[in-house]
Symmetry: C2
Subunit: 431 residues, 2 copies
């Protein structure tokens, strides 16, 4: 009795749901404005961890002789960046968990936080030299992987193409840069020991190719400014030197003149490359942030505009005829068999019908434009799945699995993503 409102709810009107649809877009953009605060923190933390990984590697490789201070300084820097990340996360915690958007994103944040909780123990092992350089590298890489995956999942939840595009560019430059970091570590190991074993050489090839694939996808989604920066990186003199050293690493066996000269040169060049990639990454992040703000402003104005329009229709409404709906054959676009012609004539003035149709068209267009970003993310998921399948079925390593996949694609003259898709679709049969 006290809840008259609950007992007899108002009958909802088309205009209410049009406003709700616009409001939903706005809320989603607000969510990305918040999420967006995490992205630069993750980017910087990953960069810090990559540097700490490099220093730890050298420290362990030298049996604790060199890079004692450097490692210490860089690990303190990582702690500062980690605190910034956790602070940003704490500040948007309510937003992320109050209106949760994606179970996968939240679980990926849990993975990243859990990995970070193990960082102290990893460092104790490094300092006490209870761990090999290789294992330490793997643990750092795993932590970095979990952090980048947070950005991947964020990109995967975006429904607005102007948000999804920059995020896809972001996740691919981050991954490309991470492959570059791993390539630096593997190359350092080879050059400083004076020879590349078959396994090391193959790993170099894999990291180089994987990096190029990521950066190719990145360049498909990057804004003009970031793309120009990236092209500067590609055109830099350093690149031909890197290419020369890469070729050396592919010829298995000992060098004529090992020394530590090549190792130093390699480390220096690749560090420059990584820093240059970080600047491209910062540019992409800036573009993503600007897109979020711009789209949010647009959506807020559009909502206000619609509310004004609808209010004006309401006051005129009493005198106008109810309108019969003519079916735009694409409208709703999804079900049944809409008619292409006929029906009863449309009102000539602007009506709720026009506004709803306009929103339908906009949402459909946004969905179409989102398609390529979605496909890039799907391709990546499918390739990872195919690699995992190959590893399990044939009991081979990750590198080996990537190589098998690439060979399949080459032999069949198909795209890597198509081969991966075919493999995954055959998985049930192969079991």
């Amino acid at each position: 009795m006290s809840t008259k409102r609950d007992a007899v709810p108002d009958i909802p009107k088309a205009a209410d749901y049009l406003i709700a649809s616009k409001t939903c877009e706005l809320m989603s953009l607000q969510y990305f404005l918040q999420m967006g605060r995490l992205v630069p923190c993750i980017s910087s933390l990953v960069h810090g961890l990559q540097r700490e990984r490099g220093a730890s590697n050298v420290f362990l490789g030298s049996a604790g002789e060199t890079y004692v201070n450097e490692r210490q300084v860089l690990s303190e820097e990582s702690d500062r960046l980690r605190a910034e990340f956790e602070q940003a996360l704490a500040e948007i915690h309510q937003e992320l968990t109050g209106h949760p958007v994606s179970s996968r994103l939240l679980n990926q944040i849990a993975s990243a936080l859990h990995s970070l909780e193990g960082l102290g123990e990893l460092r104790r092992c490094v300092v006490a030299r209870k761990i090999t350089a290789e294992s330490a590298t793997q643990d750092y890489s795993c932590l970095i992987h979990h952090l980048i995956a947070v950005v991947f999942e964020a990109a995967d939840t975006a429904v607005d193409p102007t948000i999804a595009g920059p995020l896809v560019a972001m996740v691919h430059i981050m991954n490309g840069k991470e492959f570059c970091g791993q390539e630096r570590a593997v190359g350092s190991a080879g050059f400083s020991s004076g020879r590349f074993s078959r396994a090391l050489s193959q790993r170099m090839a894999h990291l180089c190719e994987a990096q190029e694939r990521c950066l190719e996808v990145f360049s498909n989604f990057a804004d003009a400014g970031s793309l120009a920066l990236w092209q500067e990186v590609c055109g830099h003199d350093r690149e031909s030197e890197i290419a020369r050293l890469r070729r050396l690493s592919l010829s298995v066996g000992s060098f004529k003149d090992p020394g530590s000269q090549l190792a130093d040169q390699w480390f220096k060049l690749m560090t420059e490359r990584i820093d240059a990639l970080k600047r491209v990454e910062d540019s992409v992040e800036g573009c993503f942030h600007a897109s979020c703000i711009e789209r949010f402003g647009d959506a807020r104005n559009s909502l206000a505009h619609q509310e004004t329009l609808i209010a004006s229709l309401d006051t005129e409404g009493a005198s106008t005829q109810p309108v019969l709906v003519l079916c735009d054959s694409g409208s709703g676009g999804n079900t049944g068999d809409a008619f292409s012609s006929g029906g009863v004539s449309q009102q000539t003035g602007r009506s709720i019908f026009d506004l709803v149709q306009e929103q339908t068209r906009r949402l459909r267009q946004m969905n179409d434009e989102l398609q390529s970003a979605r496909e890039a993310l799907e391709d990546r998921k499918t390739q990872e799945k195919a690699v995992l399948l190959l590893m399990q079925h044939r009991r081979i390593s990750n590198d080996e699995a990537h190589r098998v996949l690439r060979k399949l694609a080459m032999d069949q003259g198909k795209k890597l993503s198509d081969v991966a898709r075919a493999l995954v679709s055959m998985a049930d049969v192969l079991k």
Copy 2:
């Protein structure tokens, strides 16, 4: 100063985000429990409108001589079903708009409500015979189309495969039944006039094929009970009679013995078929409802279980070592190049790490299982898009466009959805 909580937010823990991930799943299922209340209302309202459309058709076809009362009674029945739909919508209005999930779904509800607002005017035109039978049919069909599209959009927002599957089955049986209703109307026009024009005959062929395609997709996603019901429909004696009349309709020209006998027989058989399909639809709806309740119960228990586990880990936690994370190469699955081996040993007991990994695996598996439902919906969107493109480029009718598409598929020996996809991907070039 008064907002100490805001100023120094707690640093979030992995366990918090694991719980948040589970809570997000639960909220999504709760949303579908609410949305699910709309589905039977839409199903019944569509059925009511299909019957009203049929009666209006006969009424207009007889120049207002017959079905005067029948039409009136059925339109009152539709009003009752419409009130039920609007009541259900009003009851979940808060849920739908407070935590909005999909702009497209909300806008589709706006389209449906707006179409319903035009129903009164349509009926006045029918009663006053100011509209042709053909135009009235088209307007009713358009309204029905908007209502079914609401279920389509609901299916498109589902992230849980046990929810998405039944919704995909639902939307396809609804569409199949609607094609059947349209076929009844077109066939009635042909049989009662004693001849099928070329256009009418082609329309019959299109509606029959479109119907079969929908019911094929339906049968891929239907539960065992609904599938058995559907197979009963297929095996019924009535079907061979319907097949015979369909063949007649495909031979353009006059019949030897027109009369109204064939028309009556056709109308009766198809009405029986539609009613039988409605019973299959009810069964699918029941299965969808049961899935929602079951999954919601499971998810609630799982969340409670995790909370208990995490609490017990917290109390033990003080004594256990922090765990270094070993990277399962599929973990996160999406970014970077996870390592397949090495790393530091895992804790043997159950840890937050295990729980997070378990959730990662579950979410990945759910996503994989969702794939086929997603593809079925995508195929449908792509086909509609291809049809719209053909209509616009070649200025042909909806039927004609469907026929062109089918012919392309047949000539190239490809699936309809593949041909549609190829066409849509070429659209930019064709502009």
